[in-house]
């Protein structure tokens, strides 16, 4: 059963992008390797999801060099936090309604 009332943000509503957002919510910043390891996705797949989130301005990526190696620090933006907050609220509302319907 899918909800009609709680519009879930389609940018966040994907396994990889939601996982990225939740991991970033719990961290100050994370790098590409960390996200890849935790979510268990390929480089290309992760890059494309990160790009989508960046285009929506939900995350920001800061590129730098450490010991001549490229490093990307990824973090949530304020807009991303608000969107995720809204997403989880809607999801909670939906799940609450589903459990109420089951009890009836």
């Amino acid at each position: 059963m899918e909800t009609n009332f709680a519009e879930l943000d389609s940018i966040i509503h994907s396994r990889v992008r939601l996982a990225i957002m939740i991991l970033l919510l719990q961290t100050e910043s994370a790098n590409f390797t960390y996200l890849k390891k935790e979510i268990d996705v390929s480089d290309g797949n992760l890059s494309s999801h990160l790009r989508k989130l960046e285009e929506a301005k939900y995350i920001k990526m800061k590129k730098s060099f450490e010991n001549r190696k490229p490093k990307t620090a990824i973090s949530l933006t304020e807009k991303g936090r608000t969107a995720l907050d809204e997403y989880t609220k809607n999801l909670e509302e939906y799940l609450h309604l589903v459990s109420e319907n089951k009890q009836k």
Partner: protein
């Protein structure tokens, strides 16, 4: 396919939160480090008192406390580099333990030099500080064991104001260290190893 149902979304959220929780167990390092360092400081203190070199006690404390603070700082930095992420909780835990050690430096080194109190009061103060660090850690990582350890440290701080027999004094302190730091430290460390599949 990357499309998910709302129920699957909830599972993803739970899974990602669980993954981060596992990383909390790194606190075992701080328990172990400080348990071992303070044990060394106690042994040094005992040897110095026995050799009539009481005036050097504060210096031995200073060496161990400063060494521990540096080791904690390096560990926190390396953990970030290894994990590839930092979070408020990691920062909070590192701050608590490094802050506690800086306070210990004052309590066990600066204040005795200024003749603020007699040497045995160091134990009471150290116990109070260890209690604060353990209780704060316990609340942050939701570990009852750490809370219990913190309370034991505070009980110890009162005992050290009452006990005057040197051997009993040492015995109680060593017991507190083993129960409050060494055992929980190994427990947390092993738990983290298992969860990380090492």
């Amino acid at each position: 396919m990357d499309q998910i149902t709302n129920e699957q979304a909830l599972e993803v959220i739970k899974d990602m939160i669980e993954r981060r929780k596992m990383k909390h167990n790194q606190t075992g390092f701080y328990h172990l480090l400080w348990g071992i360092l303070i044990s060394c400081a106690i042994v040094a203190m005992y040897v110095l008192v026995g050799s009539g070199l009481d005036h050097l006690i504060v210096y031995s404390w200073a060496i161990f406390v400063v060494g521990g603070a540096v080791a904690s700082f390096v560990y926190a930095k390396r953990t970030y580099e290894k994990q590839g992420s930092s979070k408020d909780l990691d920062l909070g835990l590192s701050s608590i333990w490094i802050g506690t050690m800086i306070a210990m430096f004052f309590v066990a080194f600066i204040f005795p030099i200024l003749n603020a109190y007699k040497w045995y009061v160091i134990y009471t103060m150290v116990c109070l500080l260890m209690g604060i660090a353990n209780i704060s850690t316990g609340i942050l990582i939701k570990q009852k064991m750490s809370l219990f350890n913190g309370i034991l440290w505070w009980i110890g701080s009162i005992l050290f104001l009452i006990i005057r027999n040197e051997l009993v004094f040492m015995g109680v302190f060593v017991l507190l260290l083993v129960v409050n730091n060494i055992i929980p430290g190994f427990h947390l460390y092993n738990l983290a190893r298992k969860q990380n599949g090492n």
